[in-house]
């Protein structure tokens, strides 16, 4: 078991993450201090939650590009309700955010399941639709910090055992996912559907329904993140988390979640998100220019993908037969 772990992709990611932290520490002392690492984790919490949702979708051989738009729309809706009706308890707003997110995820899932439209097309469409809805809902207006209630903004920052609630939520989601993915029948179905959709059909697993479940769960998490994001940064506007969907996909890819489906772990997704989060945190601290930051993040993604491609290659022999069937 120990040897399996040492040679696994997760172990390599852990080593890379430690190396990265030590590298930054050598240039900027204090980065590796526990307090600072905790704050890096807190900064990465939303990325981790979304990456876990995306992991489910990618495991089933799909992709969800609409997660950041979903986040922004739910964030805007909760902020506007909070501004207009300060009396509504935060818990209700969170429940509403999750419900709204679930709804949007289910919409993606239904299109993929019932209409059999390629997921990348569906979510590219909903990415724009959800973004457009924010404009319709808000009229392009911002919801600023002073319009939000104190409780609305305070919850993610509230510290339990000297860790903010935001971090605790991420930890709870990680724990929940560990159980869902490794211990539930549904989790097994995600792997089967992505690993070999044909075999899944013959096994009596409904491929469409399983994908629907993945999209719905991912959507619900995006909704939760909508509240978390807006309350944390205390501002809601049309372009919140613009382009963040790509960071989420990148975290999954770095974490070894195979875009081809059926391959990947919860640990991998979390580590991938942490790796990307650490780079994004460390580079500005170390005084590296924003242009290099983007280039370094991008390079990390390509290295990770190249690494995955190599480790996946030995699995099968490509013969012409498959090419013939493709025609």
């Amino acid at each position: 078991m120990i040897r399996d772990f040492v040679t696994s992709r997760e172990a390599i990611l852990v080593a890379a993450l430690i190396a990265l932290i030590l590298l930054v520490e050598s240039r900027f002392s204090g980065f590796a201090a526990p307090g600072n690492l905790a704050s890096v984790f807190n900064d990465t919490a939303i990325l981790i939650i979304l990456a876990l949702g995306q992991t489910l979708v990618i495991l089933t051989r799909c992709i969800d590009l609409s997660l950041a738009s979903n986040l922004a729309l739910t964030g805007m809706v909760t902020a506007m309700i909070n501004a207009a009706m300060p009396g509504v308890p935060v818990v209700v707003l969170i429940a509403l955010a999750i419900a709204l997110g679930l709804l949007m995820g289910a919409f993606n899932g239904l299109l993929v399941w019932k209409l059999d439209i390629p997921p990348i097309v569906v979510t590219l469409g909903t990415l724009t639709i959800f973004r457009g809805l924010i404009f319709l809902v808000s009229g392009g207006e911002w919801v600023n910090s002073h319009e939000m209630g104190a409780a609305y903004k305070a919850l993610p920052r509230f510290e339990i055992l000297s860790l903010p609630v935001l971090s605790w939520i991420a930890i709870a989601v990680i724990a929940g996912f560990a159980v869902l993915v490794n211990r539930s029948a549904l989790g097994r179905a995600f792997y089967a559907v992505g690993g070999n959709p044909h075999a899944a059909v013959y096994t009596g697993i409904d491929v469409g329904k399983t994908r629907f479940a993945a999209f719905t769960i991912a959507g619900g998490l995006a909704g939760l993140c909508g509240y978390l994001w807006v309350s944390r940064y205390a501002v809601a506007y049309v372009d919140v988390a613009g382009g963040f969907e790509l960071d989420v996909v990148a975290a999954c890819v770095i974490g070894g979640i195979s875009i081809a489906g059926g391959l990947g772990t919860v640990t991998g997704a979390v580590l991938g998100a942490l790796f990307l989060g650490t780079i994004k945190n460390a580079l500005p601290v170390a005084g590296i220019s924003p242009f290099w930051q983007l280039a370094i993040s991008g390079a990390a993604i390509i290295v990770a993908v190249a690494f995955n491609a190599r480790s996946n290659r030995k699995q099968g022999r490509i013969i012409l037969k498959s090419a013939e069937h493709a025609t």
């Binding site: 097994r188 089967a192 075999a199 059909v201 013959y202 009596g204």
Partner: protein, 514 residues
Amino acid sequence: MNYSSDIAQGVTVPAEPVLRLSGITKTFPGVRALGDVELELYPGQVTALVGENGAGKSTLVKILTGIYQPDSGTIEVDGQETRFPTATAASDAGVTAIHQETVLFDELTVAENIFLGHAPRGRFGLIDWAAMNTKAKEILTRIGAQIGPSTVLRDLGIASKHLVAIARALSVDARVVVMDEPTASLSAAEIEELYELVERLKAEGKAILFISHKFDEIFRIADRYTVFRDGEMVEAGMIADVTETQLVEKMVGRAVDTIFPERDRRPGADVLTVAGYSHPTEFADIGFTLRRGEILGFYGLVGAGRSEFMQALFGVTRPSRGACRIDGKVAVIRSPVEAIEKGIVYVPEDRGAQGAVTAMPIFQNITLPSLRTTSHKGFVRMAEEFALARKYTERLDLRAASLDQNVGELSGGNQQKVVIAKWLATRPRVIILDEPTKGIDVGSKAAVHEFMAELAAEGLSVIMVSSEIPEILGMSDRVIVMREGRIAAEYDREGLTPETLVRAAAGYDGEAAA
């Protein structure tokens, strides 16, 4: 000497072969596909390559066209030893093939399809469209095809697509033309046209390798024959010197090297009754009864509709008509889940595409269809999963380092055992095994046969789809032969001979020849 006039008189041409293969051997992990094979192709002559499914014909075609590399042996073109490291090298040497399934591009025009990869170039290396269309028209006219070169392929019917594939094969300066079951998807009239085309190619002095299961067409157009059996060349000679019966015997007759388990053949009560199962295109009017403890063999040529019917029975596709009863009660099966619930399971032919999830551990593969029983309130119980997996893998004598190992790391035979174990774990009443021993080594084959006999003895009813005659004869209690989507014949095992099966499957008997 003029070749074509000689051929017209049926005289042997004392010419040198254009292409000579000798000592060709090709092995895949666990299987020897070809062993020390010889083949000679002569200009202006059609050589028929005959053999059962799995005799190594397709592997040979892939070696001839540069897709596979032989492990050993030589390829000579005009007496010069050569190698075909790529498909391009083979086509440069003048070897071209018309495949069973046409490999064409639906969104391109006919001319583009014909010249893809070797389009005529004009100034600056750009494609010379005018020249391409003119040349395409020339070739199409030569093969008697009434197709415009600028038609988009998608708009053509299957037969026309086939002609385009033939035109493509002839667009290179071909000297050897390989035709892999070219008439499989053609109508009678189109087949006549194809014969004419073959005659024309012969007259042009091309050497033709013609692969077919249909004896009437072999005797109609071939000059020579070569028989393959189990990856070896059995015999070659002139068609004029052989009768149809002799050819069938050479094809199926084999040394008795596979021993099938003895078993008590006393089937019990009716378990499954199928009546009038029909599909708009794949099969029609399939009806039979399966009894308890019985092994029912389904024989037929590739494309006879056996797998398609089985998939409908299992609920993957829906039949347009037909009913099925289990223990006398009407059973409606609309999805694999319902089939599994009613005790019918299907072990598909294509392990890779339909059977196992290769990136998943053995135990998880085995429990996939049984997750309802091994899980509690949606959560899987690993201890039970392992227990179930262990029970069935031990029964099947699975060779693996541990049950945690990914299925992709196992050999073909062991992968097949995982797939079978997976289904047995659901405790079915009827198990459909589609080509259960295809592509696995002899040792694993024997284990699978042994196991099948055990299952039947325990009262499980087995439907075995197989294209291997010894397997059909050795294992089945009864045999149903399908041809072109219909049941062609049903036989009791007693006194059944390989010849009878081959004739029924190929439609070579009094009524079909008429």
